[in-house]
């Protein structure tokens, strides 16, 4: 796969994961750029036997962790969407609410649920995060419950 093909296939997905994690358009864009610079830098070293998507998401999520590690601890009470005011219709309102609820989760929970919503398999998520399949299954279940509760607390999507 060429760099351009990888970018076209994964840029939106990576951006969504970064946005889900950082809750800030500009920082998400920066982290996404850092991710693809790392992909470009290491493409020749990439081992073909691994899944390219898993590899790209691993770099992206590690960059997200690096970004949050550098910043101060996130104060959830202040996290009222840094996303620009783009609520034009119901779909965007739903998108905003979902991001708001995800932003209130813990760091690793935000990574895991973003990868779930990107349709990655549990085995791939476990390998990206660095935990066992069993452990990730339990974690995903708990995070889904937590997210559902938050969505409910905000009155749901309707």
């Amino acid at each position: 796969m060429t760099f351009e093909e990888i970018y076209k296939q994964y840029s939106k997905k990576v951006f969504r994961v970064c946005l889900g994690f950082l809750n800030d358009y500009d920082r998400a864009k920066d982290v996404m750029q850092d991710t693809f610079i790392a992909v470009w830098q290491n493409l020749s070293k990439f081992r073909e036997e691994a899944n390219v998507g898993t590899w790209v998401f691993r770099i992206a999520t590690n960059n997200c962790l690096k970004a949050i590690e550098k910043s101060k601890r996130t104060d959830h009470s202040n996290l009222v969407m840094d996303i620009p005011d783009i609520v034009h219709d119901n779909a965007e309102a739903k998108f905003e609410l979902l991001h708001k609820c995800i932003a209130e989760l813990e760091e690793t929970e935000r990574i895991i649920i973003s990868l779930v919503l990107e349709d990655l398999s549990q085995a791939d998520i476990a390998s990206i995060v660095g935990t066992s399949d069993g452990n990730i299954r339990v974690k995903i279940f708990r995070i889904r419950e937590k997210l559902a509760q938050k969505i409910k607390d905000y009155g749901g999507f309707n």
């Binding site: 970018y7 939106k12 691993r58 962790l65 919503l117 997210l147 999507f157």
Partner: protein, 195 residues
């Protein structure tokens, strides 16, 4: 629980305008490459100039006293420590791409701890070497005239005092607070993966 299919649809409905196109990312990659080359070239030039200057002083200047040679040696050690720190900072985490989040967090934490040790111990050794080196090196040049000796050592000692007791503690405190905070952040995130 909200239906996961619905959540996935909402998740995927992000406005298209948010993601930069391939052309702008290609430009970023090129910019990054240029920045990287400039950074590495600057460090390399710095090493060459410093090495050249110190070499010139050691070879060309015929010192009469052993204290001058010891001073030169100590300053070379201090420069070596400073250079290793600069190169280390540049190389840090440059090409780590296939570690899991857990492994990456551990690596970040280890890096922070080793930086912490470096700041606390090795850099102090560098400061001591540079200070003593300067004091010893200066002696041969000012020993002939008392007023040169007094002025030279007064100014040098004043400079060393300011660096040791005012500048360094402030800089170190700021750096240590920052490092502590980063290590604390990393530990908190690592803990989340264990539970």
């Amino acid at each position: 629980m909200e239906d996961l299919t619905e959540l996935k649809q909402i998740w995927a409905s992000m406005p298209d305008r948010s993601v930069p196109d391939f052309r702008s990312i290609s430009l970023e990659v090129k910019k990054y490459r240029t920045r990287n080359i400039i950074k590495k070239t600057t460090v390399l030039l710095f090493v060459i100039i410093l090495g050249f200057l110190m070499g010139r002083v050691v070879i060309v200047y015929e010192s009469q006293l052993i204290s001058t040679r010891i001073g030169e040696g100590l300053m070379i050690i201090a420069i070596g420590i400073m250079l290793s720190y600069t190169i280390r900072s540049l190389r840090r985490l440059a090409a780590v791409t296939d570690l899991s989040n857990e492994g990456f967090l551990k690596l970040l934490k280890d890096e922070q701890l080793s930086l912490f040790r470096f700041e606390k111990r090795t850099q102090v050794i560098g400061y001591i070497a540079a200070s003593f080196g300067l004091l010893l090196y200066l002696y041969e040049g000012v020993k002939e005239k008392t007023e040169h000796l007094v002025i030279g050592y007064t100014l040098t000692l004043a400079w060393i005092t300011i660096i040791w007791f005012i500048v360094k503690p402030r800089v170190m405190k700021k750096k240590m607070d920052h490092l502590h905070e980063r290590i604390e952040n990393l530990e908190r995130i690592s803990q989340q993966l264990k539970h």
